[in-house]
């Protein structure tokens, strides 16, 4: 079961140059360099292994990972969908990989994909202009915040220094607003789990730069008062930001742009099925209404005036008039964008709408099968159950023993011992039944069993305290620690 570190299989030191004495030590390779010694390092010590050894190492490591192809992965707000295999093929097409400094003329294909994806996303979100540059959802939030700031500044309202965020929002909202230099005003929920309008009223002021909202919210509830919320925010001159993390609930049913949102980000690995890759890369395109378009990052893609000889449109990069500049060295996570484009082009209107329909049906069906209480409803694509007397984190560990991935736990805090569950549309009824059986089996177990879980996984419960108290973050540190 255990796989040694690469460094435990081999460590070879390569001496660079002759180190001044012309003699290479016995236990190291020596490699000359055309550079003078004072511009080079002395040596490099890393594993030197063959292709067969590496193939086995990484194959073995892969077998110690639970992925979406292993079974259900109902992480609330993370929208872990099946990643269609063919999208990998299109991203692997040789012309998908060109250098970002190429002339626009020579990358018309790349620009066309970007143009079309901007267009698709605009239609889906009800937004007038889209940038594809942000390399992840949080980067998209930051772009939204920076765009809002630039907009207010441009209008002589640079004094606005507050961003209002519901308590139950994703942690990135707070961090992105803070990174943008804003003070965060935290907004409590009302007893139904939605935005408390009175609290919002008192939070809003002439200092309000924006309200960040996700809808459905993290409890899966649609903010039914969204019209009124939008009016309130706009009345004080603020902007309304849509966190796209939960967009998979609404495709073809409602659009942020129609709800009064001014700026939004899309999480392509959530809504458009690009693989999450164990942490990333994602992509967090940002859509805005016309008024904010001049502030988007540069460059964006538009159709050019000319046509090709065969009459096809041409595409060009351009800099929005009041652009905030760059938020990534080049064009963001391009290969991820290609996959998202392919996914949308595959599903089309009906497929996207069907995905949301079944995501919502699945969440409702799964909840109906659970012994755990689900305090807030009517929810959409996700729901938050309460583990009650059990520790939600222990529940999660124990679910691993049943061969399924647990939900997100202990968040949002409005639900005690929260089990935030989002099955997505890709699970069949059979799988949901199996998942529900796992939940219910754990619900019937005692706290000791839960505390000792997991028992059937590659590693047993891992000591987090020790990891943090005595950080060993590299094989070098580990070796030092063990010696």
């Amino acid at each position: 079961q255990y796989e040694p570190l690469l460094s435990e299989k081999d460590l070879t030191r390569v001496d660079i140059g002759d180190g001044g004495d012309g003699i290479a030590p016995d236990d190291a390779e020596s490699v000359d360099s055309p550079l003078p010694d004072d511009l080079t390092r002395d040596s490099l010590e890393l594993p030197e292994l063959s292709e067969p050894e590496l193939a086995r190492h990484y194959t073995r490591l892969s077998q110690m990972i639970y992925g979406i192809d292993s079974g259900p992965y109902p992480l609330g707000s993370c929208t872990m969908k099946y990643n269609p295999k063919f999208t990998e093929d299109v991203a692997a097409l040789p012309p998908a990989s060109v250098h970002p400094d190429r002339s626009e003329r020579s990358v018309q294909g790349t620009l066309e994909v970007m143009y079309r994806l901007q267009d698709y996303l605009g239609r889906i979100g009800g937004m007038d202009a889209v940038t594809l540059q942000p390399p992840a959802g949080a980067a998209g939030e930051f772009v939204g915040i920076r765009v809002a700031a630039a907009y207010h500044e441009h209008n002589g309202e640079g004094h606005r220094d507050e961003v209002i965020i519901p308590e139950s929002a994703h942690g990135t909202n707070f961090a992105s607003a803070a990174l943008g230099g804003y003070d965060v005003v935290s907004l409590p929920s009302d007893e139904d789990g939605r935005v408390d309008l009175e609290a919002l009223e008192s939070a809003l002021s002439e200092n309000t730069a924006a309200l960040m909202l996700t809808n459905p919210n993290t409890l899966g509830l649609f903010e039914r008062d969204i019209d009124e919320i939008a009016e309130m925010v706009h009345d004080v001159g603020g902007l309304l930001y849509y966190d796209g993390a939960n967009l998979n609930a609404l495709l073809g049913r409602a659009r942020p742009g129609d709800m009064g949102f001014d700026v939004m980000h899309y999480n392509v690995h959530k809504t458009f099925a690009t693989p999450h890759g164990g942490g990333g890369p994602g992509a967090g395109p940002v859509g805005v209404v016309d008024e904010l378009a001049p502030f988007l990052p540069a460059p964006r893609v538009r159709e050019g005036d000319q046509r090709t000889k065969s009459g096809e449109p041409t595409y060009e990069l351009f800099e929005p008039e009041h652009t905030i500049g760059k938020v990534h060295g080049f064009h963001g996570n391009w290969l991820v964008l290609v996959k998202a484009f392919a996914y949308i082009a595959r599903l089309g209107d009906e497929g996207l709408a069907d995905a949301s329909a079944k995501a919502v049906l699945n969440a409702n069906y799964l909840a109906s099968r659970l012994e755990y209480d689900v305090p807030y409803e009517p929810f959409h694509h996700e729901f938050v159950a309460s583990a009650g007397d059990q520790d939600a984190a222990d529940v999660a560990k124990r679910m691993l023993d049943y061969g399924v991935h647990p939900p997100t736990t202990k968040w949002p805090e409005i639900v005690p011992e929260a089990l935030m569950t989002e099955p997505t549309e890709v699970e069949s009824k059979d799988t949901l039944d199996r998942l529900a059986a796992a939940f219910n089996a754990v619900a019937a177990e005692d706290s000791e069993t839960l505390a000792n879980a997991p028992e059937r996984t590659t590693a047993r419960r891992i000591d987090q305290t020790s990891a943090a108290r005595n950080p060993r973050l590299s094989w070098q540190a580990l070796e030092e620690d063990e010696s």
Binding site: Y66, D101, R255, R346
Partner: protein, 448 residues
């Protein structure tokens, strides 16, 4: 029957008609639409106007669109390189367990990925000589931005100045990204002068004062020169209680001066020079720093620990720095990062081994020199412009307008940078020898 090619709906939602009926009954609804609690006023009753396609049609569509890209030999670099990526990297990283898993919030079923990221961190520790590396940022530009906010957090004294090279030695995109990252702080980004493709050390000395919180330099520079003043910059930063942030990449770091040895406090850069093809600029933000700043590091960290049976196990650690716990007081807003790219970089580096990595860098020195000599022989071309050592790339002066030469070269199948009215920049990374020969001939033809 589920939604397959011939039926409307998502092909990835496996519901049979029977299942759907049973599920609706279980939730006490007649139709799925009933489950949507959306007020009529904000209901969307229109269409997106996006056609559905079969898998095959979609593949043909993308292939056909991307087919509009010209097939050029790219002598392009300037911070982004197209090294050959061994097939092994694709085959291993594409294993679906790697590709389709989430962030390792349940480490007991994620040991494989955690170990791979731990090994990636260790690779960066060896390359930089610094004690801590996180398991990825987005790219070089955003990592630079994060370095500045780190400097803002950790610096003892007050201060506001972030010093970066002037435009000829810093990509505009990196500077612009940095400006956005510090827009919410009191920091201000200022340029310092350069001289002949290196830092102008004397001018930098004049520019530094106590208000400086960070000095940034790159090695090699964006013009391909190897920076000769690193240790001096490190001393200067140290003397003024500023952080020295060095920009580099894993290939350069395999051969050039070790950052820890020249006093670097932070190393940033694009680690995906190993592991990814050019990918229109997709990257992997390298971020390494001193142990002192451990609790201020942005991004995820994988650490070793033990499981309940006392066996070694890996886990994300020090998460209290992160946004999902610390919210607006987090060290960064980063959540989704570039973990899978880090995996690719780690595999590529492992496939090369230390010998292969040093050799790859050495070849970048030798082949750039060879090409420079070759084009320098052409009448109307002088290369390299800078009388310095180069890695991978160099700037050449051309008598004719650079833009026109580049356009001509493009028609002949070669892409080069235009970096001045009479300057082009040429990069050898990833270009086979015979294509370099063909390029030199093409250039000769163009300037003739």
């Amino acid at each position: 029957m589920h939604g397959n090619e011939t039926h409307a709906g998502s092909p990835y939602a496996p519901h049979t008609d029977e299942d759907r009926a049973a599920m609706l009954e279980a939730v006490d609804a007649e139709t799925v639409e009933e489950l949507f609690d959306i007020p009529g006023a904000v209901r969307f009753d229109d269409e997106f106007g996006i056609d559905a396609r079969t898998e095959r049609e979609t593949r043909r569509l993308v292939r056909s669109i991307l087919g509009r890209n010209d097939d050029l030999t790219e002598l392009l670099g300037r911070g982004h390189y197209g090294y050959y990526v061994p097939s092994l990297v694709d085959h291993l990283a594409d294993r679906s367990e790697f590709l389709t898993s989430y962030t390792q919030y349940q480490p007991e079923v994620s040991q494989g990925f955690l170990q791979a990221l731990f090994e990636y961190q260790s690779l960066l520790v060896e390359l930089t000589g610094l004690e801590i590396a996180n398991c990825s940022m987005y790219d070089a530009a955003t990592a630079l931005g994060e370095a500045a906010t780190l400097a803002d957090r950790v610096r003892d004294a007050t201060g506001y100045r972030v010093l970066v090279p002037e435009a000829d030695l810093l990509r505009e995109e990196r500077r612009s990204t940095l400006e956005n990252y510090v827009a919410g702080t009191d920091l201000e980004v200022e340029s310092y002068p350069t001289a002949d493709g290196n830092v102008d050390l004397a001018a930098l000395e004049d520019a530094v004062d106590e208000e400086v919180v960070m000095i940034y330099a790159e090695n090699p520079t964006v013009r391909g020169t190897i920076e000769e003043h690193l240790a001096a910059i490190g001393d200067l930063a140290d003397a003024n209680d500023a952080l020295f942030t060095l920009g580099s990449d894993p290939v350069a770091l395999s051969l050039l001066e070790r950052p820890a040895d020249v006093g670097a406090d932070v190393v940033v850069g694009d680690a995906s020079v190993l592991g990814l093809p050019t990918s229109y600029g997709m990257g992997l933000g390298l971020f390494a720093t001193r142990e002192d700043y451990l609790r201020q590091v942005p991004g995820r960290l994988v650490g070793a620990s033990e499981d309940a049976t006392d066996r070694r196990a890996f886990t994300l650690t020090l998460q209290t720095r992160e946004q999902h716990i610390r919210r607006e007081r987090a060290t960064s807003n980063i959540c989704t990062n570039q973990a899978w790219v880090a995996l690719r970089t780690a595999i590529h580096a492992a496939a090369l081994g230390p010998t292969g990595m040093v050799e790859l860098a050495n070849r970048g020195v030798r082949r750039a020199e060879t090409l420079a000599e070759r084009v320098d022989d052409i009448v109307g071309v002088k290369a390299p412009v800078h009388d310095r050592h180069h890695l991978r790339e160099f700037v050449a002066r051309v008598d004719q307008p650079a833009r026109a030469i580049a356009d001509d070269l493009e028609r002949r199948g070669f892409a080069v940078h235009v970096v001045g009215e009479h300057e082009i920049q040429l990069c050898v990374a990833g270009v086979p020898d015979e294509r370099l020969d063909a390029f030199a001939e093409a250039l000769e033809g163009v300037v003739r």
